[in-house]
Point group: C2
Chain length 331, copies 2
DNA sequence: AATTTTATTTAAAACGATTTAAGTTACATT
DNA sequence: AATGTAACTTAAATCGTTTTAAATAAAATT
C-alpha cells in the first residue's frame, strides 16, 4: 500500500506538502503542486479513507434505516436518496431492521460509534423512540421519513399524509356506495386512523383489521384474503396497507373465484406495484422520490451545520388518489 | 465525546488496560476488567469506529455493487446478503451503478481507498473489467454474482445458469408449438445465447430483439410491447429479459386487446414479480437468496484470509422452469 | 546593509483506538 | 536472602491522514 509518506519521499517533499498539494491548496507553489500530483498519480496513490475519516471526523457515509430492503416503496426512496447524495460523494449504508427493534438498536449503536455522518430513519416501530432521540440529540444529525418524531426540533420529519390517503380511499369506496369496508393493516398506524375517520363520518361499522407484525408483502395479502373469506359478513370493499398486500389479496380472491371489482373492490396504498395487476389497482400515490430527495437534502444541510428553518423541520407531502379499475360500485 | 482516555482516567488505569479490558482480554485481572467495564458503561463509552478502522485496517463494511437498487431481483439478493452478514457484524454499503460505467469506477476508487473490507459485484457492464480485476488482485477480496470473471482465480463467481434458463423457456414455447418467438433483452447477455441455441436447434428464425441500455423495468416492457406490434410478422411467443419487463409487456398487450396466453405466450425470467399478474406469468426461478448467502459466505472467508478451494471459485446454481398460465399453444 | 514582508515548506501535534515489549509486583523456589 | 517466574499493568509505537504554527528563504522596503 502506498502512503502519503511514499509520495513525499518520491517527490522530495514533506508529507504535509503532499497533503496540501493534493488538496490543491494554493499555499503550496504551483509547480510543486503539479509535480507532487504527477508523482502521486504515477505511484497510484489513493488517500486512505480510514485515516482521513479519523482526522476529519467524517466518513462520508450516511445511514439509511428502513424496515425492509426488499420492498419497492423503500427501495424507490433509497434510489432517490442515493441519486441525491451522489454529487456530494456520500455513500449509503443500508440498514434493514426487518421491523426488529433489537436490530434497529444495534444499528443505532453502530451510528454512535461514528460510523456515519448522519442518518435517515424510515421505520414503523416506535420501540426505540427514546434511544433515537438521544442519538439525534447527542451524536448525529437525523431525519425521519414517514415516522413521527416526538420533537421535530431534534429530528426533522418528512411526512406524506397517509392518514389523508387512507381517508380518501375510504371516501372513494363510500362514494361508490360501499358500506362494508375492511381495512388490512396495523391499527397503531396512521393509515388506520384515516380509514377510521372515513367510516365514522359515514356511520359505518369498522371491519376488524388484520395485523401483520413483520412485513407487508404479497404473501401477507394472500393470508389476509383467506381470513377475509371466513368473515361472517363479507365486505364489499377493502383498503390495504400497501400495494403489495393489495396485490396478494386480489390474486387470492381471483383464484378463489371472486371477480374484481364486481365482487370486491380493492385499494392499495403507495403506488408501487398496483399498476402491475390486471385490472390495475386503485391506490394512493406518495411522492417517494421527492421525499427521499428532500430528506437527503435536509440531512446534508444539517451535517454541514447549516441552520434549519422551522418550516423545514416538518415537511408534509400531499398524496394523490389514483382511481383505477379495481374499484366499482358494489353489486 | 468520551474517549478511551476518559475511561482510563475515571477508572484509574491506562488506556491500554481499558482497551484490553473492554475486549475481554484475560491478560488483565478479572476484577480490573469488571471495574473498567462498569466505568465504561457508566460513561456511555462507545469505541470510535473510525479510530478502530484505522488501526485494525478494517471498516467492517462490505460493498455491494448492483446495477439498480430499485429492482426486486437485486433487492432480494441484497436482503439475503444482509441477513448473512448480520451475525459477523458486517454492514453493507449500497452502490447502485445505474448501469453507468463511470459511476461503477467511482465506487471502485472508493474501495481502493480502503472504505470497505471486500465487495460483491453484480453487474452487467463489462466496461470496467480490467479495473475490477486490478481491484481484486491488488486491493480487496471480491466476489461476482451473475457476472463472468476473466480469471476466477482472482474473483470467484457465483452464477446461475441464465443461458440454460432462457433455453428452457424457448424449448417450452417450441414444445407448445410456437415457431415465431421473440426475445426482449440485450444480445450481449447470456440469456440471449440460451434463446439463440433453442431457436437454432429448432431451425426457427431469431426475431429481432429489443435492447435496453439502462434498465429492465415495467416501462421498458411497455415500450417493447409497442415495438412488437409494429413487426411485420407477429410473434406468438416471447421470452423477456426479466419478470418486470414481462409484466410491462403483458399489461400493454392486454390493454391493446390481446389475450394472454391465447394470442401471445409470455415468459419472464428471475421469478420476482411474475406471480403478481393475472394470469400468473411463466418464468425461470433463480435461487437469489441462496446465491446471495453463498457470495457473502465466500467473501467473508476471503476477508478472513482463509483458503478458497478451486471448486468454490466457480459455483453454478441451477435454475428451474416454472410453468404458469401465460404460456399455451399458439392459436 | 539592516529590517521587514511575503511566499513556501515542514516539523510536530492531533485524531482515538490497538498492540507489543518492557516494567512492576507478588509469590514461589532454591 | 537471592533468584526465578508468573500475573498484571503500562509506556510507547503505530495506523495514515490533516492542520497549525514555526522555520526558512527570497524579495521588498527602509
Amino acid at each position: 500500500m502506498v502512503t502519503i509518506k511514499d509520495v513525499a519521499k518520491a517527490a522530495g517533499v514533506s508529507p504535509a506538502t503532499v497533503s496540501l498539494a493534493l488538496n490543491n491548496n494554493d499555499k503550496v507553489n504551483r509547480e510543486t503542486r503539479k509535480r507532487v500530483q504527477a508523482v502521486a498519480r504515477s505511484l497510484n496513490y489513493i488517500p486512505n479513507a480510514r485515516a482521513k475519516a479519523l482526522v476529519e471526523k467524517s466518513t462520508k457515509i450516511i445511514g439509511l434505516v428502513i424496515p425492509e430492503i426488499h420492498n419497492p416503496f423503500f427501495s424507490e426512496m433509497a434510489q432517490a436518496i442515493k441519486d441525491y447524495l451522489q454529487d456530494s460523494d456520500y455513500s449509503i449504508i443500508l440498514c434493514g431492521t426487518d421491523n426488529n427493534p433489537d436490530l434497529e438498536s444495534k444499528y443505532i449503536n453502530m451510528f454512535k460509534g461514528g460510523l456515519v455522518d448522519g442518518a435517515i430513519f424510515s421505520c414503523i416501530t416506535n420501540v426505540n423512540n427514546e434511544v433515537v432521540h438521544d442519538l439525534a440529540r447527542n451524536y448525529l444529525p437525523l431525519v425521519y421519513i414517514d415516522r413521527v418524531a416526538e420533537d421535530e426540533e431534534v429530528i426533522p420529519m418528512i411526512k406524506s399524509n397517509l392518514a389523508e390517503g387512507a381517508y380518501q380511499l375510504t371516501r372513494h369506496l363510500l362514494d361508490l356506495g360501499h358500506r362494508k369496508i375492511a381495512f388490512i393493516g396495523r391499527t397503531d398506524e396512521e393509515r388506520f386512523q384515516g380509514y377510521l375517520k372515513g367510516m365514522q363520518e359515514a356511520g359505518c361499522p369498522v371491519i376488524e383489521s388484520y395485523i401483520f407484525d413483520q412485513s407487508y408483502t404479497f404473501d401477507q395479502g394472500i393470508a389476509a384474503g383467506k381470513t377475509l373469506l371466513t368473515l361472517p359478513e363479507k365486505p364489499t370493499g377493502v383498503v390495504c396497507f400497501n400495494d403489495e398486500v393489495a396485490l396478494g389479496l386480489t390474486q387470492f380472491m381471483v383464484k378463489a373465484g371472486r371477480k374484481i371489482p364486481t365482487d370486491l373492490s380493492v385499494c392499495g396504498i403507495d403506488n408501487t406495484v398496483s399498476r402491475y395487476y390486471n385490472p390495475e389497482i386503485t391506490t394512493i400515490d406518495v411522492p417517494k422520490q421527492e421525499m427521499g430527495r428532500t430528506a437527503a437534502r435536509l440531512l446534508l444541510k444539517m451535517i454541514k451545520g447549516e441552520k434549519i428553518r422551522a418550516e423545514e423541520r416538518f415537511i408534509h407531502f400531499p398524496v394523490t388518489l389514483i382511481k383505477r379499475d379495481s374499484t366499482a360500485p358494489p353489486r
